[in-house]
Amino acid sequence: MISSSAEQGEENGRHRWGMVIDLDKCTGCQACTLACQMENNVPITGPEEFEQGRTIFFTEVFTDLEGEFPYVEGVVVPRPCLHCDNAPCVRVCPVGATFHNEHGAVVIDYDACIGCRFCTVACPYTARSFNYYTPEFPSPLDRALNPDVPVRPAGVAEKCTFCFHRVDKALARAAEEGRELTNSELTLLPACNQVCPASARYFGDLNDPNSTVSHLQRSPRAFYLLEDLGTESKVAFLRSE
């Protein structure tokens, strides 16, 4: 399966982006959450929106605690969009506004999105948000907007893009220099990965069986969230010991 898609990838120059998050390294610091928001022009909201669950996080950290004092065991799991191959959000979109781009990332055409929110409900990982409000960046906060990423208007769904604007820019720059991106360069491309103080996040090409992410996804520690749903996500997690 991997080799066949790898061959296919080599033929048409396509990548199949994937990610691995090592829960044994993750510290729950949430730098990923904010680096993502700053990179991707996520609108500024306040306590009311937060209370209603309408604050937008492309990547978010969740925790859980089992047991009773003093026998308690906690877990901390960061969750970006998992960019499923068999993505429920893509299947339910009535207008084809959400789709896999050429490198396998699940993306949204904000112009085509009709705001029905089927996708936000269909996603078993709650990775998709709906833009309930006209995005606001009270002046002069608008000066910090990243010109590489569009601000999404009210009434559309939005989510993690695997930072394709950063990835594509780096690919183009490497092509210009007549070379391929190395694994260590690739791994830092999404904003969440670049910031991670624990170096717990990896990014790369699952079409390349020798990439870091391919290696790690074959690790005995690797697992996928709600794997039995058959979503075939491209983000694997490495179990903590």
Binding site: D24, K25, C26, T27, G28, C29, Q30, A31, T33, L34, A35, M38, I44, T45, G46, P47, F50, E51, T55, V61, T63, L65, E68, F69, P70, V72, G74, V75, V76, N101, D109, Y110, D111, T134, E136, F137, P138, P140, L141, D142, R143, A144, L145, P147, P150, V151, R152, P153, H165, D168, K169, A172, R173, V195, C196, P197, A198, S199, A200, E241
Partner: protein, 796 residues
């Protein structure tokens, strides 16, 4: 003062969203290659009513994050004149290109819409928040006039300067300003967090600082108190170290233990969490030492070569701190104590690390000395994988100057009989101010802190602020303390100013970052360093001590010493070249850490690690004309007894009796709390309460059993009342809370500081913490308050 916003916005072509999506996929890449971005993708969404301000050439500037004191290197991304993001600076070894979430809020600090936009003076009642704009010339004249009047009247010592966590040479400048002016009263925030750890090192090893640690080579770490993934300094180094200790080496997976009274994120992520009664961590360390010594696992070679007083120490430990006795004190089972001791001794190199909570009781100094002793027993000091001593850059000596003699003691009693080992006692200042004890405060300068909010007994500070006749605030936003000021003289935010930042102890090797301004000042603000130098030049006799016209000149003068040392990561043919490379890299670092330089690591009079802390007796003598025993006796330190100078367990003093105040209050720090550095950054409030999935306010955690006994349900409003006062807050049931304790994160309950800070709900636990101190070190006993808790309805 340039404002190019309008110019930039005009001429931005309009694109439809569909065109934009296409461009974002392809165009950006093309634009990126030619080094110009923005012009192709600048767009204007009618629907969104948001325009892209940023347009123009992409440039990167090296700065140093100053949202917390750690000083991580940042690489600031600018598009045109706009700062659009900060990334980590890969040259800076402290964070090697990585950052924490607080740093990511930097743009929300720079572009905070509620910043103070220029100097102002109070017109209404004090604290009413009514101001009128003035010019910087007027501000300068008023400050100079006030200081001149005080000094002429012989009252120079009645100026109190709070300098918070002032970075690098801002801190040095403020110290020197105060020396040259003639006041002993400079206070930083050291007594709020690390001063007990520093004082313990002074006694055991001879130097006043926190530890550095060799995380990369260690195999086993016990963190005593605090939450190493949330409240550590420097934090990003710790986050990286956690990952490295576990997964950074192919053959070793280090083990990490968190000891503390609350299941923090660190407790979640550690290999093991050991719950313990607050303030009892030192006793646990002594229990481990007991087992290790009894089982003959201690490092005899290190003890023989580099320590003194071991016999006395081991006699005390063997007699008093058996696992059973320690289990009684700490609540940690005896079997666990034995197991931890064997793991610690059997997993060398290992580290016993002092967390924040360790310095937060009235027995803080001895708690820290116990940790130091445990490390010494195992020979973990200054070895690979052990506890190190931080080195610092060698700056040029200050120019010779005649400084006025200051006869008056410090207001807060630091360095005197009241607190012999303290350098400052921030949280006790209000009582001195309110009682004119030993003299009144006539002027207060507030830089980089928010005493009305961030100090135990914060309400006492508010009373004190109302009393002081002349208050100057340099804050960038009108926070809870600034609203009491007579003059608001806003500093630049960190991305607008030049600053050097020496990280707190952590790496071992010497290091200093240089932040270049990444943005022109947005408003009519002024570098507080420049302002103080101007004031100094106007005051007679101060120019000799502070001869520089600008802060940059001062920094350049001092950094010449680093260049002259000829050492470190920047080798240059001239100082100009050195300075240029420093600006380009944003950091200078010294030589690789050299282990075993004992004449630097053990600088006590005996040149050894002193289990028996002889200097305590000597310092007590020094502050009292030779009557040290009386000083120690007055502080309850068991003078004259055999154990007087040994690390040991002392029961912490707690405000509130157990009958009336049955619960132990545990205020704690969450990582996204940037205190006064970024109170108005909405992004940080969104991620404030990870474990509770809370944001925009704080809560009070109760163990479900404790809550049920009190009839309190989850999410119910409760009163939390201490002898100091009471606050209303939302209760949350949490299995990670100890029965009999109530945990409240610091940071909630703002009443000022901007639209978002003011929108934060909850309450400030600092308001109900009684400002007790460790008597010797003067450190604040954040964990020294008991409370009662009851439903809010009908009890208001």
């Amino acid at each position: 003062m340039e404002n190019n916003e309008e110019k930039e916005k005009s001429g931005a072509p309009d694109y439809t969203r569909r065109e934009f999506v296409a461009l974002a996929g392809m165009g950006v890449a093309v634009a990126g290659m030619v080094g110009v971005i923005g012009n192709a993708v600048v767009t204007n969404f009618q629907e969104a009513n948001v325009s892209y301000a940023a347009a123009g050439e992409e440039t990167w500037i090296k700065s140093v994050c100053q949202i917390c004191p750690a000083g991580c290197g940042v690489n600031v991304r600018r598009v045109g004149d706009n700062v659009v993001k900060v990334e980590g600076n890969p040259f800076h070894r402290l964070n090697h290109g990585r950052l924490c979430p607080k740093a990511q809020a930097s743009t929300q600090v720079l572009y905070d819409p509620d910043r103070l936009q220029g100097p102002m003076q109070r017109v209404g009642e004090r604290g009413a928040g009514q101001w009128e704009p003035i010019t910087w010339e007027e501000a300068r004249a008023r400050v100079v006039g006030e200081l001149d009047r005080l000094r002429t009247a012989g009252d120079a010592h009645t100026l109190l300067f709070l300098k918070g966590h002032a970075p690098g040479h801002m801190s040095h400048l403020i110290d020197r300003f105060c020396q040259a002016y003639g006041t002993p009263n400079v206070a930083d925030l050291g007594s709020q967090c690390t001063s007990a750890e520093k004082a313990a090192h002074l006694l055991n090893q001879g130097w006043y600082d926190t530890s550095a640690y060799d995380w990369e080579k260690t195999r086993y770490v016990i963190f005593f108190g605090g939450s190493f993934l949330e409240d550590w300094q420097p934090q990003v180094q710790m986050l990286s170290a956690y990952s490295f200790i576990r997964r950074g080496r192919p053959d070793t997976r280090g083990r990490i233990i968190q000891v503390g009274p609350r299941l923090s994120i660190s407790g979640h992520k550690a290999d093991e969490w050991i719950p313990i009664k607050p303030g009892m961590e030192g006793a646990l360390a002594l229990g481990l030492a007991h087992v290790i010594i009894k089982e003959n696992q201690h490092d005899l070679a290190f003890i023989d070569d580099h320590t003194s007083g071991f016999e006395e120490f081991s006699a005390l430990v063997l007699e008093e701190y058996s696992p059973e006795a320690v289990a009684e004190i700490t609540g940690v089972p005896a079997e666990t104590i034995k197991r931890l001791a064997r793991e610690f001794a059997g997993s060398r190199p290992a580290i016993a690390a002092a967390g924040q909570g360790l310095g937060a009781s009235t027995n803080a100094l001895f708690n820290n000395a116990a940790i130091n002793a445990l490390n010494a027993v195992m020979g973990n000091i200054d070895v690979e994988g052990g506890v190190l001593k931080q080195r610092y850059p060698t700056f040029t000596e200050w120019p010779k100057a005649t400084l006025p003699e200051i006869e008056q003691p410090r207001l807060d009693g630091a360095g005197g009989p009241a607190h012999p080992l303290a350098r400052c006692v921030y949280h006790e200042l209000p009582d001195h101010i309110l009682n004119d004890d030993p003299y009144p405060v006539n002027a207060l300068f507030i830089y980089d802190c928010n005493p009305a909010f961030d100090s135990p007994g914060a309400s006492r500070w508010r009373e004190a602020l109302a009393k002081i006749p002349f208050i100057v605030s340099f804050a960038s936003v009108a926070d809870e303390s600034a609203v009491y000021a007579d003059l608001l003289l806003p500093d630049h935010t960190y991305l607008e100013r030049l600053m050097d930042v020496t990280p707190p102890a952590g790496m071992g090797r010497a290091m200093v970052g240089l932040a270049s301004p990444a943005s022109a000042p947005l408003y009519d603000t002024r570098h507080t360093g420049d302002f103080l130098l101007e004031v100094a030049s106007d005051l007679e006799g101060m120019a000799e001590a502070l001869p520089w016209a600008t802060f940059e000149e001062l920094v350049k003068f001092r950094f010449k010493g680093v260049y002259d040392s000829g050492q470190g990561s920047i080798q240059a043919d001239s100082y100009d070249e050195f300075w240029q490379i420093l600006q380009e890299r944003g950091v200078w670092e010294g030589l690789r850490y050299q282990y075993g330089q004992w004449d630097e690591v053990l600088t006590t009079p005996s040149g050894s690690f002193e289990f028996q802390m002889e200097q305590l007796a000597e310092i007590a003598n020094n502050v009292s004309d030779g009557d040290g025993e009386a000083v120690l006796a007055a502080l309850g330190i068991g003078a004259g007894t055999e154990r007087a100078l040994l690390p040991r367990h002392e029961d912490p003093v707690v405000s509130g009796d157990e009958e009336n105040y049955p619960l132990q209050l545990i205020p704690y720090i969450v990582l996204p709390d940037a205190a006064n550095r970024a109170p108005n950054a909405p992004a940080l409030w969104n991620i404030y309460g990870l474990l509770m999935k809370e944001g925009w306010g704080n809560w009070a955690e109760l163990n479900p059993e404790t809550a049920h006994a009190l009839g309190i349900e989850d999410e119910e409003l409760i009163w939390v009342e201490s002898p100091e006062g009471k606050i209303q807050i939302k209760a949350r049931l949490y299995d990670g809370a100890m029965p009999g304790a109530i945990n409240i994160p610091l940071g909630g309950g703002h009443t000022a500081g901007g639209r978002w800070a003011s929108a934060v709900s909850g309450a400030n636990p600092a308001d109900i913490v009684t400002p007790l101190s460790d008597p010797l070190a003067g450190s604040a006993a954040w964990l020294g308050t008991r409370v009662k808790v009851y439903k809010a309805e009908g009890n208001g």
